[in-house]
Symmetry: C2
Subunit: 344 residues, 2 copies
């Protein structure tokens, strides 16, 4: 089959790789209907040292079950399923607590010999625990929104849930990428009435308004902080959703959170340390969040997509075939595309 | 009257200062029955540059109301009261949320012309909001435990509450100082069945056992981390209560917290940054805590002290008069005293 490999910064290729097959009785093989490029894929695309052998990449996909191992009992050939971006048994103590990203028998796509999502098919370990049946056909118009359940939408949702967003909290969302916009949609779903979106790409912040943002702050750094302070009577907001992952974004988050409030982060941190010294201590600021256990949220979010209440798939603004994946990466890196859908 | 001033590192003096008097109609004047030295007083005692003029110091006291301003309605001359270590109106939005440390009309003892607690009397701003009547006489044997309500006990309690301690959480407490021991007592009160205390002073960890610690880890750094991992099947504990304030203690906390768990800190941070990069992100670790709004907890904790259920005053292992306050500081700095009670 064909799949995407990354050889280094700026060098993504689609090549022939071995067809996936059942290796363990808990495996399934899924033929990919839709995949996509994640903002976090852009970190290696921007900086990975060049290597002689490419590495598989991609961790978001939905598809059709083609084969199942002997111990798989919840899935059948033909089921249309979505995979969260971490596979998990969904039965261990961490999974039962809703932290499938720490599953005792889980792992990451495209790592340690496992298939990546940006290809024609995927061997899925712990298939019963990992895959969620969607109850739609292969040609459903909802596939883009359903695909967001693999990562980007639950990531924004995790950010809002961990931040404690509710009807009584004001919210700042930092970042107008697909995760930030998903966080806006999530904050709205959790009842927030005031959602300030920090972003400077008008097409993106316009979608943010559609998703529930009540205010847009295009300024960054000190100016952006000042603007949020103006909008909140000097106090900042109860919750700040940090959806970028850069040190400056985290510093901004800590500067616009209200005393006693929470900064929740889901942007994969491109920093080692966080400025949480005396001022944050005196303000009783909480820092929470982390890699999102998407699996924990899928059943909760699915009905709202199926009945059209929410359309998180609107973050996709370009669709490519497998051959065009390298161009899709470049478009996202150039910010000419917000998020690229892949139709193998 | 006489009060304690600090001139610089190692230089604390007891001198004559102006008698406190009502300045604002919301003030009261309190004659101090008991005060004490805080672990946080040892930071300036250890490092403050020497100055020509001394500054008032001390923020923990209980005493007798001697005079009240015209707008004070809840207090009468003769009431025995405790003051939390931050004064507050107890009516603003932050106070109503239980964050009196961020009160819009609050402030700190011994700062900006306000009296400190380590003296014969104190002018108390926002007296109605700040002071809590204890319902005991001036000679009550409970005064030491009641005095802990001003800071050290609610600080440990805040740490445990913010950490989310309950009957289902395992807990590590870092630090066998008076705050750490108060955190142990608090974790026990909140139902924790497993409380691991990290500390290496046997007399202190023995008191920790009395307060509810189930395990003592005397090792520090990597060895201490390894020991906690051994005790918890490799996972760490759900909650870590960081009661020291040094960078190493925070690093230890982040190394012994279970995935999805919480590090709660109340040790005044002697660091600017916290190592919260990729590993903490992947582990979904929350960092919370901060300066404790003692006022928010006093009414909750008071009955348990009055009926003898808990004796947080056991952290005091030396009592001095006002003249001996400098020796009291030195004893705490030398660690020959855990916490020094002052009887003016």
């Amino acid at each position: 089959m064909r799949a995407t490999l990354i050889y280094g910064a700026g060098d993504v290729r689609v090549e022939n790789v071995p067809d996936p097959e059942i290796k363990l009785p808990t495996d399934a093989v899924v033929r990919v209907l839709r995949s996509c490029v994640c903002g976090s894929d852009l970190w290696p695309y921007g900086s990975k040292p060049h290597a002689e052998h490419g590495e598989r990449i991609g961790h978001e996909f939905l598809g059709v079950v083609e084969d199942t191992g002997s111990e798989v009992s919840n899935l059948q050939r033909g089921d249309v399923v979505v995979a969260p971006f971490v596979w998990a048994d969904n039965t261990c103590d961490f999974c039962r607590e809703g932290l499938q990203t720490s599953c005792r028998h889980g792992g990451l796509w495209a790592a340690e010999g496992n298939d990546g999502g940006q290809g024609e098919a995927v061997r899925v370990p712990q298939a019963d625990g990992t895959l969620v049946k969607l109850g739609v056909g292969e040609d459903s118009a909802l596939l883009p929104s359903l695909l967001t359940l693999s990562d980007v939408f639950p990531t924004g949702y995790h950010c809002a849930v961990k931040g404690g967003v509710n009807a009584r909290t004001t919210v700042t969302v930092i970042g107008d990428g697909a995760v930030g916009l998903s966080a806006v949609l999530s904050a709205k779903r959790l009842g927030a009435e005031r959602v300030i979106l920090m972003g400077r790409h008008k097409d993106r912040t316009d979608l943010g308004r559609d998703f529930g943002a009540t205010d847009i702050v295009a300024e960054r750094g000190e100016e952006g902080i000042e603007r949020i302070r103006e909008l909140t009577g000097g106090d900042g907001t109860h919750v700040v959703l940090e959806c970028v992952g850069l040190a400056q974004a985290m510093d901004t988050a800590l500067s616009v959170v209200r005393d006693g409030g929470t900064v929740s982060r889901v942007g994969a941190p491109q920093y080692e340390q966080v400025n949480l010294g005396f001022p944050s201590f005196m303000g009783n600021v909480t820092l929470t969040g982390g890699v999102a256990p998407a699996r924990a949220y899928i059943e909760d979010l699915l009905p709202d997509i199926l009945d059209g209440t929410i359309e998180p798939g609107r973050v996709f603004d370009r669709t490519v075939g497998l051959d065009e994946v390298p161009a899709g990466y470049q478009a996202m890196a150039d910010r000419t595309a917000l998020k690229v859908l892949i139709k193998p």
